[in-house]
Structures are given as C-alpha cells and as structure tokens.
C-alpha cells in the first residue's frame, strides 16, 4: 500500500509541475526598502506641500500605513491646506471636500463640529441631486470619513442611493460612470463598490440583503474579467479608450481591491472567489517591487494594507530571503511565510516537495518538511543531506495550514516554485600543458600545472607542433562539472588576442591547438604569446582567470596576400584628443612700392595735364564761340555741366558705387546729355553755317 500510494501522487505532481514548470516568483513582503522608497517618492516641495489635495492625501495615507514618522513634520501644513477647503464648502467641489476630509481624518486635524456640519449638509445635497458615479463616491466617502472621525452621521433614504449607484452596473460586473456614458469600466466598478460599502455603513436601517447578494454576484462576475501572468499573478486592466483616461493595471487593480475589501467588510457572508485570485493580486502588488512613481507607491501600499486583513482571503506570501546557497559554507535553505506586510502567519507547515534542475528535469521528489524557527519566524532545511550538486534549480514548496478553519481565511496558493542557485568550490585537477610533434602524437614536453601555486610555464613551439591542454573539473559531490566559460587565451606582444573554448567530454576537458592550421588565424605573427586560462560559472565560487605563462611561437613568414591583423584599440585620448596646431601657409603679399615713390609718380602723371593747360594758353584759346543768347547759353552750360556730372559719376563709381547703380544713373544722365548736347551742337552748327554763308 505504501508503495502504491506515491505512484499516482507522483504522477499528479508531475502533471502539475509540468504546468507550473516556468513559474517563479521573486516577491518579497513589504519591508524597510519600501519605506525608504516611499520617503523618497513623497518628498515635499520647498514650501512643504505635496501638490494638490489628492497628492497630499496619497502622501499622508502612505506615511500612515507604513508608519513613517516623516509625516508628523508636514502635519501642520497639510491640515491648514485641508481646512482651507473645508472652510468654504459651497465653493469647493465634492472631490475637494472628499480629499480634505480624509486628510483631516488621517492626520487627526482638529476641525470644528460646526465646519463639519456645513460640509455634511453640502455632501448630502450632492447625493440627493447627482446621478454621476464619481459624485456619489466623493460625497459618500466624505461622509464616511467624517463619521469615522467621531461625528454622528446618518444617511436617510440610503436604499434609493444604493439603487441609484447599483443602476449604473453592467451585466459583466463593470460599472458605468453615469447614465449618459455607454462605456463601462473596471476602475469605475471598484469605486462603485467602495461607494456602496459606504452607503451600507451610513444607512440608518439595514439595507435589503437581497440587494447585497446581487452586488456580491456582481463582484464574482467582475473577477471573471481578471487577467493573469504565468507565475500566478492576477491583475485587473482595461482597454485604453482614450490616452488621457487610461488608468493602467496598478490603478485599476487597486481600485477593485479597495472596493471589494470595503464591501465584504460591511456585507455578511462569504464571497465566492477562489483564494488564488486574491493571492495573485497580492503577488501583483508585491511584484511591482519598489515603485517608481508616487501614485504607484500609494496604490501599492494601500491595496496591500487592505489585503493584509480582509474578509475574503488573507494572502500568505512565501519568499526566500536569499536565493544563493553555498555548499562550502553549508548554508541552510531558509523560507519565510508571512502576510504581505511581513507579519507572522498562522501555524503552518512548509514542505519541499520537489527539486527540478535545468530543463525541468526532476532531481528529487522526496517530500521533506522544513523545520520552523519560532524566534526568527523562518522555516529551514539543511540541503547537504539532499545531495544536490552545484547549479541552478527550481524548488517546489507546498504550504499546508495546520488549523482546518484557516483554510477559508487564508490563501496560500498551494504550490510555490522558487529559483535558487547552489554554489560550491570546483576542483581543477590533473591539469597538464605541453607541446607535441605533429605526426608522432607523443608529447615532447608535458608539464603538470598546479593552479594553486603561482608558477608560470615557458613553452616554445613552431608551426609544425601542437599545444595540448587538459584538465578535469570536479564538483564538491564528485561529479564532472561543465561551466559556462572555459577559455584559453593567447595574447601576442602586439596585443592581438585569440580565444579558444576548451571542449569537454564526460571525463575531462582537453584542448589541442594545431598550429599548422592556425597559422593564418594568427596572422603569421611569430613571437611571444601570453597564455591565460579562464574558468567561470554562476554556480562556481572560485571562478578564475589565471595567467599560465608564455609560449614562444615560431610561424613562417607571411605571404604577400596574407590578412593583416586587425587594428588594435587605440587609446581614445590619443585618437580623439587635440591634434597638432596647423600653421597655414598664406601667399606672401606682393611687395608694394614705398608711398613716397607712388605719390611722386602721381604728381608726374598730372604733369602732362598741366602742360596741356599751358599749351592751350599759348595757342590763345578763348571762349568767343560760346553762345551769347540766353537760351542757347543755358543749353551750352547744361551741356558742360552734364559732361561734368557724368565724370563725377565715374569717380563715385570708382570710389563706392557698383556697376548697376552707375548704369542706372548713367542712363538718366545720358538721356539728359543727348538732349542738351543735340540742342547746343545744332545751334552751334547753324550759327557757323550762317557765318559761312553770310
């Protein structure tokens, strides 16, 4: 009987583990790491505020849950901020009042009863008038928070409010935001459930139990829309309708958790949701790790605080404080089972049911119970008796609660798989290196390598010989070990490197370098090669990179067409650093004559002109032919003036104008000049013909 029993159980386990083969969880409960991350994320700005009301509430609530003393210093500012909003409830929106009331509740601000009376009246008015889900949520939530701060509030006509909120629900368990919108949302469902829970708490008379039953079945339908990852994590998400409206899985899941835990707290009876989904939600939030944004941090911490003790299922998290166990230091396998916030779990047993190696190969299926250390709240087991060698393994644990009625209270998730590394010292022995002749095969010179000592070998070979390296790698348990990296590196004096992987068989590792075939690979470089030997693996505690010595290699001369060795890496500073200063060679300027000579010749050039003027005087030049009548005289003077103007234009052209401007002015002047000149010259010619004929 005892022999038969394990067989079907083993088969079942095999099937289950095949299904869960790739599961691994890397979650750890909320710890001080989360607390310091929250302190950093919720750093107040220079004037001590956290931004708007919603951000302020998120900050103070996170500090409250995590027990951070930090928030005590910002209490005053936040209370003031909230009081401002509460002082004028008529002008603030329900959303602002909601956040302000909750901030006061968390921080314990002292608010006048009179102020709250006005706020209560305003919120009650909002409930009466609105039919928007968000307005219901803010006003009911505000009233609930005020009630929790010690004021007596009763919501009359709670049934109709309940009905109004319930009317917005859809058949798939989601909720619409108001009667006009057609889109339903999972986030809205969470808000609606929270609002309904608030209505039930504030009601003066008990709400119809059948209504509560309907909402419970809505919750079950909502949980049918849950999404999951392979490793047992569950979360809620919805399709992004509008980029600005998309809330993301963290916010949506947080909203649902808040709503469901709030509703089940006020509703009697159990909810028909499998425990693995609650555990999956807890794993989702813990799987975020240390959140990157303040909103994610708030949603994570608040959801986990609601999951910590809720009336559906309390998730219990199995986690490993360390995932690396050393055979050398005889580490014990330690497992913690706690609530999401790290508090102690109820009495339970943890069993290691299976150890799987790489490729999901079953190493052992013995069911070993872990012993419980009450003082440290940790389950432990010695791994040495398990006779597991070094390497990477998946450990499958099973948690069983010791009290049967805890089964309905706690969710353990049945089987949990964790990936671990087992490390140890790898022995390298029978290491030999030597040079052998090509044909003979008999080793000419073999030297035993003792890798513990620092001796260096000195070998010499030519291209007709072979280098042999062989060694054995043994694990602490005496098996042959195949590490990830086992290399022999040959480095030439000119920094050219060659890397060879040492192939290994069942018995030993052996590398044979036949230089005849490697001559081209080595770029025909003869000379001294440094030998380096590297063996490394994640599971190996003594990975090493050892220089072995050097090898004088004699290779034949490179032929013409041989490939050149690749250019070695240049020191970046020499390649990209500043270069030598370039001195430009300019054409040497022409030698100019001395200024005095130039000026002298300018004078000499003007000399013929003066000679011209003197000669004219000699000849008796006169102005007798200049017309005396006023009309022709004017034209004649204009003619000379015109010529003078053109010459002046030329001078200006030489000094500063350009050709086009000059031509433009020349055009005007020449038209003028032609007209005037024609008049003058025709007058003169008619005058001279008159003289001739007369």
């Amino acid at each position: 009987m005892a022999g038969r029993r394990p067989a079907p159980a083993a088969f079942l386990i095999l099937v289950l583990t095949a299904a869960f083969a790739s599961i691994s969880s890397a979650v750890r409960p909320v710890s001080d790491a989360h607390r310091s991350a929250a302190s950093e994320l919720f750093a107040p700005s220079a004037d001590g505020s956290f931004g708007d009301l919603e951000s302020t509430y998120e900050a103070v609530r996170t500090f409250q849950i995590l027990g951070l003393d930090r928030y005590k210093s910002v209490t005053g500012k936040a209370c003031e901020f909230a009081a401002e909003k509460l002082a004028s409830p008529a002008s603030s929106s329900a959303k602002d009042l909601f956040h302000a009331v909750r901030i006061s509740g968390v921080l314990g601000c002292s608010v006048d009863a009179g102020v709250y009376d006005v706020v209560v009246a305003r919120l009650k008015a909002v409930i009466k008038d609105t039919n928007s889900l968000l307005e219901f949520y803010y006003s009911v939530g505000g009233l609930l928070s005020i009630k929790e701060q010690g004021h007596n509030i009763v919501l009359s006509d709670a049934e109709s409010t309940f009905h109004a909120i319930k009317a917005l629900s859809q058949s798939d368990g989601r909720w619409r935001y108001d009667t006009n919108s057609a889109e339903s949302s999972t986030f809205a469902a969470g808000i609606a459930l929270e609002a309904l829970a608030g209505v039930v708490s504030l009601a003066d008379a008990e709400v119809d139990p059948s209504m509560i039953g309907v909402v419970k079945s809505d919750i079950v339908k909502l949980f049918d829309t849950i999404k999951s990852y392979d490793d047992g994590t569950f979360y809620f998400d919805e399709k992004p309708v509008d980029a600005t409206e998309y809330k993301g899985p963290v916010m949506t899941s947080a909203s649902v958790v808040r709503g469901v835990t709030a509703f089940t707290a006020v509703a009697s009876g159990k909810l028909n949701i499998p425990g693995e989904k609650i555990l999956g939600l807890a794993k989702f939030f813990l799987g975020i790790g240390l959140p990157g944004s303040a909103k994610d941090c708030f949603n994570q911490i608040e959801s986990l605080s609601f999951l910590e003790n809720n009336r559906v299922f309390v998730p219990l998290i199995l986690s490993l404080p360390s995932k690396v166990f050393s055979l050398t230091s005889k580490d014990q396998l330690k497992v913690e089972v706690t609530t999401v916030f790290g508090s102690a779990a109820p009495p339970l047993k943890v069993n290691l049911v299976q150890v799987l190696g790489s490729d999901s190969k079953v190493i052992t299926s013995d069911n070993k119970e872990l012993q419980f250390d009450r003082d440290n709240n940790v389950h432990y087991l010695d791994i040495a008796p398990l006779k597991i060698d070094v390497g990477k393994y998946s450990l499958v644990f099973e948690i069983s609660l010791q009290e049967p009625d805890h089964e309905t209270v706690y969710a353990t998730g049945g089987k949990n798989t964790e990936n671990v590394f087992i490390t140890g010292l790898i022995k390298v022995d029978k290491a030999e290196i030597g040079i052998s002749d090509n044909d003979a095969g008999a080793t000419e010179s073999v030297q035993k390598l003792d890798l513990s000592k620092d001796t260096k070998v000195s070998l010499s070979a030519n291209h007709l010989q072979k280098l042999r390296l062989s060694f054995q790698l043994t694990t602490p348990l005496g098996h042959t070990f195949k590490p990830h990296q086992v290399f022999l590196k040959l480095k030439h004096e000119s920094k050219v490197e060659h890397l060879f992987v040492v192939p290994g068989s069942a018995r030993q590792f052996k590398l044979v370098l036949d230089f005849l075939g490697l001559v081209e690979k080595f770029y025909y470089l003869s000379g001294r090669y440094e030998l380096e030997f590297a063996v490394g693996d994640a599971a190996m505690e003594n990975s090493f990179l050892r220089p072995l010595g050097h090898l004088e290699l004699d290779l034949p001369e490179a032929p013409e067409k041989a490939p050149r060795p690749p250019a070695q890496a240049v020191d970046p500073f020499s390649k990209f650093g500043p270069k030598a200063e370039i001195s430009h060679i300019f054409r040497s300027p022409e030698k100019r004559p001395p200024k005095e000579l130039s000026l002298a010749f300018t004078g000499l050039t003007l000399l013929p002109f003066i000679g011209f003027l003197i000669g004219l005087m000699h000849l008796g030049v006169n102005m007798k032919n200049f017309p005396s009548l006023p009309g022709p005289a004017a034209f004649a003077s204009l003619f000379h003036a015109g010529i003078g103007a053109v010459l002046l234009l030329y001078v200006l052209f030489w000094l500063k104008l350009d050709l086009f401007t000059t031509l433009k002015y020349l055009g005007f002047l020449s038209v003028f000049l032609v007209f005037v000149g024609h008049r003058t010259l025709s007058y003169l010619s008619s005058a001279s013909t008159k003289q001739k004929t007369a």
Binding site: R592, L597, L604, L647, T662
Partner: protein, 114 residues
C-alpha cells in the same frame, strides 16, 4: 656730315613753318594727343619701376590714355577741312561722337580700374 645736319635743320624749319599754318582747333587736338601719350608713358615708366602688381589698374590707366588719344586722332581726321572724305560731316557731329566715345571708354576704364 655738315650737309646732313643743315639739311635736317632746314627740314625741321620747313616743317614747323608748315605746322604754324594749321588751324588752331587742330593744334588743340594735337596738343591733347601729345599730353595723353605722355601720361601713358609716365604710367609705363612707373610700372617699369615698381612692377605690375595691380595689373588691371595699369592696363586701365594706359588704355584710357591711348584710347582717348586714338579718339582724338579720329576727331582730328574728321574735323580737318582739307580732308575730302569727311567734307559733308559737320564738325559738331564729329565732336559729339568724340564725347560719346570718350564717355563709354571711361566707363569701361573705371570698371576695370578696381
């Protein structure tokens, strides 16, 4: 040889006497031509001394002088009453041509002067 020099002196004397007979306006033009050429020779001598570095300036200077000398010679030909070929051409017309051509020449010269 004494006869050669006296012949040369006689030749020059006859030439100057004949030249004195030319009309005044032609003499003005001749004087103008001589001065223009002299100016050109001055520029060439300067270039010979200091080298032709701004060659464009040298060219435009010399060509302006030579050009205006050439135009003046043309004017003299056209204005000369003894020249049968240009009998019907009024001298004012020739003078107007002379002015126009000189202005165009000097525009080009100024552009090339640099």
């Amino acid at each position: 040889m004494p006869r050669a020099t006296s012949d040369a002196k006689l030749l020059i004397q006859s030439l100057t006497k004949a030249y004195a007979a030319t009309p005044t306006n032609l003499k003005i033009i001749d004087l103008y031509v001589i001065c223009a050429v002299a100016t050109a020779l001055m520029q060439v001598a300067y270039m010979g001394l200091v080298g032709s570095f701004p060659f464009n300036s040298f060219l435009s200077g010399v060509l302006s002088c030579i050009g205006t000398a050439v135009l003046a010679v043309c004017l003299r030909i056209q204005v000369n009453k003894d020249n049968k070929e240009f009998k019907d051409l009024p001298p004012e017309r020739a003078f107007a041509d002379f002015i126009l051509c000189n202005l165009v020449l000097h525009l080009v010269i100024m552009n090339f002067l640099g």
